[in-house]
């Protein structure tokens, strides 16, 4: 019996990190490491027709380690490891009686983890670098928890994302440097989940002698809608499929020292289907060996 589980907002998270680094692999021995907290709390969601409906307030909080390390000048390994993932659902209280109608619940565990290899397709230092990245989505999280099995810290499926990145460095005058990059990927999913086309645009500007970076992202997922629906499966367990969205996000990164800094991010969506309809936030501390 096939069973597919809800994916809701994890894609936001995955996209944030999958696109990090763009087409620029780390040089051999260099790396970038980040400890961060990402969260979303949502009481409404995009429905299958793209409209917004209410739901009981749910929250997901991921504390994660993200690391890039250059094995060679062309090959970089990337890991995104949410070592603490928490999913909560609020109590439902009667406004009439004050009685708790449906008790809230929480699930804590390791979250789904991404392992990636990024390979530079042209010579490092090229004007328009190109890179290919293979990401393996490891289902280390729990795909069901709580009395209704409606809590999860992972989607329960092993997916493979093949992504191509292209970008270029830019300069505005003599003092402001920056970059723009684009991404296109195919996410092969199993366990009844639909496969996906993923795409994105990213641009960043380095200010104050590159101590302050402002980064903007536009990311999208289009479902091929070739997975299972509720009509296809006999299980009564929860599932949602065919999630789509077009989201935008901004991130601010500030180097407090040459290598150490902190970052804060915000992401929301222009449109979506079967996905949370509230913004996500992140804060983090990073250590940049490449500086």
């Amino acid at each position: 019996m096939q069973r597919i589980t809800i994916i809701f907002i994890f894609i936001f998270l995955a996209s944030t990190f999958s696109f990090a680094g763009g087409p620029w692999p780390q040089k051999k021995g260099n790396g970038y490491f980040k400890l961060s907290q990402w969260w979303i709390v949502f009481d409404q969601h995009y429905t299958d027709v793209g409209k917004i409906d209410p739901n009981v307030t749910s929250g997901i909080y991921n504390t994660s380690l993200y690391a890039e390390y250059g094995f060679t000048n062309r090959l970089t390994g990337v890991i995104y490891f949410p070592f603490l993932s928490r999913n909560t659902m609020n109590n439902v209280i009667s406004a009439t009686t004050g009685e708790t109608l449906i008790p809230g619940e929480a699930l804590n565990s390791i979250g789904d983890t991404d392992l990636s290899l990024k390979y530079a397709l042209n010579k490092p230092g090229s004007k328009v670098p190109l890179a290919a990245t293979l990401t393996l989505g490891l289902p280390l999280g729990k795909d069901e928890g709580g009395t209704q099995n409606n809590l999860q810290t992972g989607d329960g499926e092993f997916n493979q994302l093949l992504q191509f990145d292209a970008g270029t460095a830019i300069a505005i005058g003599n003092k402001v440097k920056g970059f723009v990059s684009s991404q296109l990927g195919f996410n092969n999913r199993n366990k009844g989940f639909s496969d996906e086309i993923r795409f994105g645009l990213e641009g960043g500007l380095g200010l104050i002698s590159n101590k302050l970076w402002l980064i903007a992202r536009l990311t999208g997922v289009e479902s091929l809608k070739n997975g299972d629906t509720a009509a296809d499966v006999t299980s009564t367990s929860i599932f949602a499929n065919n999630t789509e969205y077009l989201s935008y996000g901004i991130e601010v990164a500030y180097y407090v020292t040459k290598r150490v800094g902190f970052s804060a991010g915000y992401a929301s969506a222009f449109r979506g289907e079967i996905i949370a309809a509230k913004p996500s936030y992140s804060v983090g501390v990073f250590y940049d060996l490449s500086k």
Partner: protein, 234 residues
């Protein structure tokens, strides 16, 4: 180096604080679940035979649709046609018509219902009191529509039947169907089943249940407590 260590410690402290702040506790969502209290005769009849008596049964549902045990007042508009005692026992006297009402003062208002009774040669329960019907419609942006009937079959089981025009979205996780007296919540509702038919005619056998026990058919996405739609049982 000291400054670097100090910065790292500061940043780490800020992040740790943020983690502690944002690893949220479980909050409360308050839902507006008030409904009008009702008192309902659960075994209505149309006419009573002159040589018989009839014991009415009733149900009082409070302002959240939950049944409460109460002692209502029974009244009768014409005591020359029939009499009714305070237990709801109706005794015919002569052929004619009378209005039976059941009233309960819940402290906020008087909840009542009225039924016209014909005293005739024989007791009859008309067709309209053996079958109820309605139409489910979406209250969300998920597709849900269809006509239904609720009736007792020859075995005494209550059967909920949906017509050919029934359609429901397959996109929702965990869509369940309920019978309820409060369409604002699935809490305290009678859970029929997880929905497995999303198009066309189908039936649910509800077993030995009263035809007048519930006022609405309700569809809820159970895992995420999202109301999808409902239909009043007429």
């Amino acid at each position: 180096m000291k400054a670097l260590n100090s910065n790292i410690k500061t940043l780490s402290s800020i992040l740790l604080l943020a983690i502690l702040l944002f690893q949220s506790c479980i909050g409360d969502d308050v839902i507006m679940d008030e409904v009008d209290p009702v008192i309902r005769i659960t075994n209505p009849i149309d006419s009573l035979g002159l040589n018989s008596s009839y014991q009415f049964e009733f149900m009082y549902l409070n302002n959240v649709g939950q049944e409460e045990t109460v002692n209502p007042e029974w009244t009768n508009s014409d005591n020359t046609v029939a009499t009714i005692d305070q237990n709801g026992l109706l005794q015919p006297i002569t052929i004619g018509t009378t209005d039976i009402s059941i009233n309960y003062d819940n402290g906020s208002n008087i909840v009542s219902t009225l039924q016209k009774i014909y005293v005739r040669d024989t007791t009859t329960i008309p067709e309209m009191m053996m079958e109820r019907s309605g139409t489910v419609t979406t209250t969300s942006s998920y597709q849900l529509e269809g006509d239904f009937t609720l009736a007792v079959n020859d075995d005494g089981d209550l059967i909920l039947s949906f017509a050919d025009n029934y359609e429901a979205s397959t996109a929702l996780p965990g869509l369940f169907i309920y019978l309820t007296n409060n369409p604002n919540t699935s809490s305290n509702a009678f859970e029929i089943a997880a929905v497995s038919t999303f198009s066309g005619a189908h039936t649910y056998n509800l077993g030995a249940m009263g035809l007048f026990d519930y006022s609405h058919v309700l569809y809820f996405c159970k895992p995420f407590n999202v109301k999808v739609g409902d239909g009043e049982i007429e």
